[in-house]
Amino acid sequence: MKPKDYRSELEPVWCTACGAFGVLKAITQALTDLEVPPEKLAMVSGIGCTSRLPGYTNAYSFNSLHGRSLPIATGLKVARPDMRTLVVGGDGDGFSIGLGHIFHAAKRNVDLTYIVLDNGVYGLTKGQASPTTETKFKQRRGLAGPDEAPLNPVMLLLASGCGFVARGHAGNLPHLRTVIREAIQYPAFSFVHVLAGCVTYQKPEYADEIYHRCDVLPENFPNDDFIAASEAARGERFSLGVIYKKSPGEPLPDGSVTDDDDMGIWRGIQVS
């Protein structure tokens, strides 16, 4: 199947040059690489401009409620482990109203691929600040406390014990394609932070500015090392690539190792 075969008939209603276009493309490319049958593909989102993505994808798609994509996807995947399940949405959807669910999903470690299109703003509701909005931008709008700083999603995901944490940029398609592909292949919960522009509610230079603060991680980056990953997650610049990838059996941030053969979230259903 070609990337365009993963597109539905709907034409995106995003603004011209919205960062979401790139992500839609990268996802369809990664799906092509992995040869996922569309009927075995599920895509769940919340609400927001970027959360419209499932509507443009040839899949069992669910454009659900603001902030609730992860619980819905968890239920689907536990009940239907045969479905390849992607979860997509924006920074407001994921990091504001939906933030709590992320850590629980990471902890539960059900095999979902969660892709957040972070444009640092609430696009759909016309430009309010999100948890990753730069402080200056928020302060101009009177919405940041004096000591406030944006959340660092990659750092938080690392701290949650998530086994796969990656970052891409909507403007670097070949790279994003490989990152998303690897995330989908990861056999447990995986997280991809995608830097994406909002051409309407961010200043026009935003996407470029962010892009110039990105560094693609070197090939030999030790992404199985939690401390190296934490360091790559901090600082003014954005590391792109697979920042952390835990091999099964490796200790989690709390130091514990879990037995894979213990009973857990019950998986009794066999469908097809």
Partner: protein, 584 residues
């Protein structure tokens, strides 16, 4: 001891009668840790073994751990779903502990009371102490003026109760061996205490209640809901612990995996229902269970179920509200929320559990409707049913179920309007060619998001057509109690069913109507039943008369009285009698 004087808020009714001759009621009052609940469970279990029926209820203070605790068991020759009005045998370790159980325990003139030999206190007047026979037993072990650990008091009490009931001592011993066979030290201690209690020659004895000899089954309301759902095909459950619903989650953790299903403890109630919708979107029968606070949190997600037409069953074990309220106490005050909550015109079905036995049956019906019509179904239970232990006959095989109609190649678009009952085959993920967009946003028949006034009107009509179809499907989903010719009528719902069973027996001038489904309401059945009635009342455990007001939206209830009080203890016959007199 002084004579019986009723409490201000429980004036006695003139028609209150003795416990019926077919049954016996035994109560135990103790402190936390003294095993009142275990006592009740063991009595009930012994009854079930003899083919007797029965009910056990418990009561405790605001703190779930520690504090006073009481249990009340009724055993009976016929099936009962009410714990009985008056206690035949009351065992109380310390008379001051009675304070917490005002309204929970009532004596009659033939009651037997067993108190500690060392206890010099009096029972409170409100319990009704005229004519009772008091017996003293040395429960506590006093050495040098201090109470020291002695025989387990609840086991002493068990022996006494067994003797009082006229049961064979071997029945009790067998019961204890079954229960504690794997802990021999404990067992031998318990057996000794049981024998000491049973051996107390002065303990009065009541005539033996003969059971059928068939081994009957004990279940709580929460277990029955969980098992009924499993029988109905439940394969995914997500929930968040909350009193008084947690045992549904716990029962399913133990039992659903064996039936090929999955259970997830969610991080909160929003995600619990979210997970249920995810599983159901996946074509799997799914359910959640909660209580008022959780139900309030689920409101937005319930709207998504209705809009995107994804089946979901939501069980609400009501407790006294608003807000955190009284978590362990019963009330019927989530009805308004169940019927009307959620922004937008949101179709949903609401059903009411009547008792533990009914709990299994209703789950079949709930899934039939939810799956058959692709709507959210709320099943309202309450603390009174949820936590009650009840003996029932062997479970009949499940009635035939309606299943979700499933899309096949060349089937209609997902939200096709050309459907008489509003239902369109469901596209189960994995089916080639069935890919579509489910959404919270309004959609065209093909699923394209839309903000068009006409599309919205057509889609709203389609969604609500289902409710008409369901109304037709369920028009006989109600029960009537009492003699057809009776001229006084009571309309009630949910757990008041049990009380009404007793009431119409004691008061043959009454008959009762109890809907099994509240929305859509079996209104034709009600109208038919009302014919020939004189006085009519609508009974509920909710301060504002939610059920009564709801009836007003359905039919003319001019002249029908509202019989109501807020929650806490369930309604007793005394309460109902008072409410009727006040309403006149």
């Amino acid at each position: 001891m002084s004579t019986s004087k009723p409490a201000a808020h429980h004036p006695p009714g003139p028609t209150v009668r003795r416990g019926d001759p077919d049954s016996a009621v035994v109560s135990l009052v103790g402190s936390g840790g003294e095993g009142a609940a275990l006592f009740g469970e063991l009595i009930l279990s012994m009854a079930a073994r003899q083919g007797l029926y029965g009910v056990m209820v418990q009561s405790y203070g605001p703190q779930i751990r520690g504090g006073e605790s009481a249990s009340l068991v009724r055993v009976s020759r016929r099936e009962v779903c009410h714990e009985g009005e008056e206690t035949d045998l009351l065992i109380c370790f310390r008379t001051p502990d009675m304070g917490r159980f005002r309204g929970f325990i009532r004596l009659h003139e033939g009651s037997v009371v067993t108190l500690d030999s060392k206890d010099t206190g009096d029972l409170p007047e409100w319990v009704g102490t005229a004519g009772v026979h008091t017996y003293r037993f040395p429960f506590t072990n006093i050495v040098d003026g201090h109470e020291v650990a002695g025989d387990p008091k609840n086991m002493l009490a068990l022996g006494l109760a067994c003797r009082y009931l006229g049961w064979d001592a071997d029945l009790g011993r067998h019961e204890l061996r079954q229960r504690f066979g794997n802990r021999p030290a404990l067992l031998s201690k318990d057996l000794d205490a049981f024998d000491r209690g049973y051996g107390s020659q002065d303990m009065p004895t009541m005539p033996h209640l003969q059971g059928s000899g068939r081994n009957l089954h004990i279940e709580t309301g929460n277990e029955a809901v969980a098992r009924g759902a499993m029988q109905a095909g439940l394969r995914f459950f997500a929930g968040y612990p909350i009193t008084p619903s947690s045992e549904i989650l716990e029962t399913l953790i133990d039992e659903l995996p064996g039936h090929g299903g999955s259970v997830v403890q969610a991080e909160d109630e929003i995600s619990a229902l979210g997970m249920v919708l995810g599983a159901s979107f996946g074509g799997v029968k799914a359910m959640t269970a909660t209580s008022g606070p959780g139900l309030s949190l689920m409101t937005e997600m319930m709207g998504l179920s209705a809009k995107s037409e994804i089946p979901a069953v939501i069980v609400d074990c009501q407790r006294a509200g608003p807000a955190t309220g009284m978590p362990s106490r019963t009330e019927q005050s989530d009805l308004n929320h169940a019927l009307y909550s959620g922004h937008g015109d949101l179709p949903r079905v609401v059903m009411g559990v009547m008792d533990v036995v009914h709990a299994r049956d209703i789950m079949h019906k709930a899934f039939s409707i939810s799956e058959g019509y692709q709507v959210p179904v709320l099943v309202l239970s309450d603390a009174y049913i949820a936590q009650r232990h009840q003996i029932r006959d062997e479970v009949p095989p499940p009635p035939a179920q309606v299943n979700r109609s499933v899309w096949r190649e060349d089937g209609p678009t997902r939200f096709n309007l050309d459907t008489a009952d509003g239902v369109v085959p469901f596209r189960v993920p994995g089916t080639p060619g069935g890919q579509y967009l489910a959404a919270g946003i309004e959609q065209t028949p093909a699923g394209t998001p839309s903000a068009d006034t006409t599309i919205h009107a057509l889609m709203g009509e389609k969604r609500w057509r289902k409710m008409d179809a369901i109304a037709e499907h369920t028009e006989s989903w109600f029960r009537v109690l009492g003699k057809p010719g009776a001229t006084r009528g009571i309309i009630a719902w949910g757990s008041n069913y049990g009380l009404l069973c007793e009431w119409v027996k004691a008061h043959p001038e009454y008959r009762a109507f109890v809907p099994e489904i509240l929305m859509p309401f079996p209104i034709k059945g009600l109208e038919e039943w009302r014919k020939g009635l004189g006085w009519t009342g609508a009974l509920e455990l909710a301060h504002t008369g939610q059920f009564y007001k709801y009836l007003k939206t359905l039919t003319d209830v001019e002249g029908t009285r509202s019989l109501k009080r807020s929650g806490g203890l369930p309604l007793s016959m005394v309460d109902l009698d008072r409410l009727i007199r006040q309403a006149d």
